[in-house]
């Protein structure tokens, strides 16, 4: 997949000569910029909407049960009821409900894999960049090794090892996704560890841990936020690919599973599963992409032209 290689450099380390204002004003400034950015606000709106749907499905407030039979098999979309708005699938279940529940899966896959990969990436990157020496060598060796194995093969093999299912997918996506963040973090730590403010903290008696987490990390935390939006997008897309390969979730409707079904249905003219899942996915990925850009612009003013 070329995507990884192409995404990674967009969160390139900052140039040497760049001087950041202290952290609070960086975030304050960013917040101001975001508030003025109408696209970013719309994106935040879309993402909140998706999150609410995901949460409501999780808690069973809406679209429950998703596997209720609401009509005949492959009924085309109709406006007669909310359940039939996207038609029905092979078993006569509501495609609309499946799309909603797919939102839950997609959001949870993005969230959980980020929660797994971000601590790993941050910690390893920080340790490598901050301590240097053999720690650096070891960690760099480790992530070079991981990134030398094609991502898709790692994903497949980890799902094989863990068995299949949602939690296996969280872990598989999490353990393969931390490399990019670790690389960026390492570069930033190398740059920041000899800055005046860190040296000042050291002379005031701050220990290693305190310098890493209290002083340096807040100054480069925007990379984590930007990484989060990238991670979400790649997790949602990977879910589709894993489902296509038969490694996706079982017994639950996900967008990947729906698109996988669609490959058989399309030639009989059943387009609504594909359309429903693709559209739902399109908007959330679009929102993440646009928001990621806005965040980058807001947090990384150098690129703003």
């Amino acid at each position: 997949m070329t995507t990884e290689a192409v995404i990674a450099p967009t969160v390139q380390p900052l140039p040497e000569n760049e001087k950041f204002p202290p952290s609070r004003s960086l975030w304050g400034d960013a917040l101001l910029r975001i508030k003025r950015d109408r696209i970013a606000l719309i994106c935040i709106g879309i993402l909140s909407f998706y999150s609410i749907i995901a949460l409501s499905c999780q808690l069973g407030w809406i679209a429950t049960p998703w596997d209720k039979v609401v009509g005949a098999a492959y009924q085309p979309p109709s406006l007669s009821s909310i359940e039939l708005i996207f038609g029905t699938d092979l078993f006569g279940r509501s495609v609309f409900y499946k799309v909603l529940h797919g939102t839950r899966i997609a959001m949870s896959v993005g969230l959980m894999s980020s929660l797994l990969s971000i601590p790993v990436g941050v910690t390893l990157g920080a340790l490598a960049g901050y301590f240097g020496g053999w720690v650096d060598d070891l960690i760099v060796w480790f992530y070079t090794t991981i990134s030398s194995i094609p991502n898709i093969m790692l994903l497949i093999s980890v799902t094989f090892v863990l068995g299949k299912g949602l939690s296996a997918m969280y872990v598989a996506l999490g353990v393969t996704a931390w490399v990019g963040l670790a690389r960026v973090m390492r570069g930033e730590f190398i740059k920041h560890k000899s800055r005046e403010y860190v040296l000042a903290a050291e002379s005031l008696g701050a220990g290693h841990l305190s310098r890493i987490f209290k002083h340096i990390l807040p100054n480069i935390s925007h990379f984590i936020i930007i990484n989060l939006s990238i991670q979400f997008v790649s997790a949602i897309k990977s879910e589709v690919i894993l489902s296509f390969l038969g490694l996706g979730v079982q017994g639950q409707p996900s967008w990947g599973v729906m698109i996988d079904d669609a490959k058989l249905e399309l030639s009989r003219g059943v387009w609504w599963q594909l359309a429903g899942a693709t559209l739902a996915m399109f908007f959330v990925v679009l929102a993440f992409n646009l928001l990621g850009d806005s965040l980058r612009d807001a947090l990384d003013p150098k690129l703003k032209h």
Partner: protein, 599 residues
């Protein structure tokens, strides 16, 4: 990653870069403009399909149907199942007539046709590439290869324990290797140039069926020696087609073998064949096609679309295209009919099933639980959804058209009845499913596996039984099943030959895992009847024995019997002489393309 502004030596790289890009793009566009170019192939070329990537053409490795069929276009067996006649009968292929059998049914004498030539190939060094004549010794050699433990053939079972002295030869070969090929096997001898004698350890009604399988085809030792490990990518047989191109994952091209013996299209068929035009070519020399292009399609969607576009001569109907191609009365849709496409329906000799692992402490000891689950599974709805009704609910393991099938028999535990299922479940000790832990269900990864497991889960949930679905790749699935690690799984058995024995052996205790009795069924009475049936000749007594065995199985319920499928095949109007045949493998020679009917 910052670089200096002064990198001017970069100039020439930049310029040549632009230049090369430009040239390449122009080149691509020029070539692109001459697409849709038709390659030169004979007008009567067949365009056929296989639905899986091929595993080589060496007959002893032809485990899957697809590779077996390809291998059979070049390599031939002594006998074959008659192309047209039903019920299936064995007929001569490389022999002059059916073999002579001794009075005790143990000694078979085959008389080979004279003048049968192997295809010309560089491996025949002494004749400068001219193929030599087939002799009886070639069969002795080929069947020893099948037995050779070093070659790890998956087809050894067809001879295992059947031929006098062959198992002992195999054991010695495991120790000593190659040179054992010269060692005599008492039960497998060439009496003279054209006479092959086979001595069986015991009478076997199935022996002649078994040796029609591609595993038992004849190969020349010259080719095996010459190509060594690459032998599986070549085909040097006596068959009607020569291998022209072999790309196991995309395409195989066969061309007519110019030295093929004189062979003709069958002159007799089953009732209705004449009316269907299947005997129009009776007595004419085969093969008809000058070339056969076989394309590999792993995904159904592109295969179907290619067929509709006229790029394939035959195709199955993917389940999701069924309603658009077949009308409510099981007739062909008008738009396809207008194109002259024919629909050919034929039962498949197979049985799908859900296996229970009888060595599982929970399922193995609770017959009532198994019966309850069997009653709760609505096979007709399943068939409607997944096979568009192109299947009949199975009452037992033996499919129609196979000896032992009883058309009047209704399995009491396969009549969908949810109330009775609940009743039995309560009797089994789990009223409403209470107290029953979720059962581990194994299935294959993939779209249809996933959809079917969703259906199965729902069926059992209706009586309160929960399933935990685990999906596996094919090797993992087999590993799980053969190591008895799952509780329930879905499987299917396609018959190797049209005899009930081939389906009943799936329950013989000596075939338990890792053998083919994957549910690990053990019943002494069943075993006794099975062993008895092996010695019986075809006839009423054998059929009754088979039916008795089926009744025992049905009561013990080691499987939830699924369906016997019906194949619906579409053929283009220009394809003649097509008749589905589950058991004869070398059929391409009979197909004929009428180029005048192709636009």
């Amino acid at each position: 990653m910052k670089l200096s502004p002064g990198a001017f030596q970069f100039n020439h790289i930049w310029n040549s870069f632009i230049f090369k890009f430009g040239t390449l793009v122009c080149f691509t566009l020029v070539i692109a403009s001459c697409t849709r170019h038709q390659s030169k192939e004979p007008p009567n070329t067949l365009h056929l399909v296989v639905e899986a990537k091929l595993k080589g053409l060496d007959p002893i490795l032809a485990e899957d149907r697809y590779s077996g069929t390809q291998s059979a276009q070049a390599y031939e067996t002594l006998l074959q199942f008659h192309y047209l006649k039903r019920p299936y009968v064995v007929s001569p292929l490389l022999v002059e007539k059916l073999p002579d059998v001794s009075a005790d049914g143990k000694v078979y004498t085959f008389t080979l046709r004279k003048g049968v030539l192997f295809q010309d190939d560089p491996c025949f060094k002494s004749t400068g590439g001219k193929g030599r004549e087939l002799v009886a010794e070639d069969f002795v050699y080929s069947w020893k290869r099948l037995a050779d433990p070093k070659l790890t053939s998956s087809g050894w079972w067809i001879l295992d324990g059947r031929v006098v002295g062959l198992n002992a030869w195999r054991e010695r070969a495991a120790k000593n290797g190659e040179k054992h090929y010269s060692e005599q096997v008492d039960g497998l001898r060439a009496l003279d140039r054209y006479t092959l004698q086979v001595k069986l350890t015991q009478r076997s009604a199935q022996f002649l069926y078994l040796i029609t399988m591609p595993f038992a085809a004849v190969v020349p030792h010259e080719a095996v020696d010459f190509y060594g490990k690459e032998f599986l990518n070549h085909a040097v047989g006596t068959g009607p087609f020569r291998l022209a191109e072999y790309h196991p994952s995309s395409k195989v091209v066969w061309v007519k073998n110019p030295t093929y013996r004189k062979a003709v299209y069958p002159e007799e068929g089953a009732p209705g064949d004449r009316e269907a035009g299947l005997l129009a070519d009776a007595g004419r020399a085969i093969p008809f096609a000058d070339q056969v292009d076989v394309q590999v399609f792993v995904e159904q969607q592109p295969m179907w679309l290619s067929f509709l576009a006229g790029q394939l001569d035959i195709s199955g109907i993917p389940k999701d295209n069924f309603s658009s191609s077949i009308g409510p009365g099981q007739e062909l849709a008008p738009d396809l009919l207008a194109q002259g496409i024919r629909l050919i329906k034929e039962p498949v000799a197979d049985v799908t099933h859900l296996s229970f692992n009888l060595e599982d402490p929970l399922l193995g000891k609770n017959k009532l639980l198994r019966q309850a689950m069997s009653l709760a599974f609505d096979q007709n709805t399943f068939n409607e959804i997944f096979y568009n009704g192109r299947a009949m609910a199975a009452q037992g393991p033996i499919p129609p058209g196979t000896d032992g099938y009883d058309i009047d028999f209704k399995n009491p535990y396969r009549q969908f009845n949810i109330n009775k299922a609940r009743e039995l479940l309560a009797k089994a000790g789990y009223p409403g499913g209470r107290g029953l832990p979720p059962l581990e269900y194994a299935t294959l990864a993939g779209s249809s596996g996933r959809q079917q497991s969703e259906f199965t889960t729902k069926m059992f949930a209706a009586i309160g039984i929960k399933l935990n679905t685990n999906t596996y790749s094919w090797p993992q699935f087999l590993e799980t099943v053969k190591n008895k690690k799952a509780q329930i799984w879905e499987f299917a058995w396609g018959g190797d030959y049209p005899d009930g024995e081939n389906f009943l052996q799936l329950f013989y205790s000596k075939n338990a895992s890792p053998g083919q009795n994957d549910s690990n069924y053990r019943n002494p009475e069943f075993d006794r009847l099975y062993e008895l049936s092996l010695t019986l000749p075809e006839g009423k007594q054998r059929t009754e024995t088979y039916q008795k065995m089926v009744r025992i199985l049905v009561e013990d319920c080691p499987w939830i019997f699924g369906s016997h499928r019906l194949s619906y095949i579409l053929a283009q109007k220009w394809l003649k002489n097509y008749k589905p045949n589950d058991f004869s493998h070398s059929n391409y020679k009979y197909y004929r393309v009428d180029p005048s009917l192709k636009k």
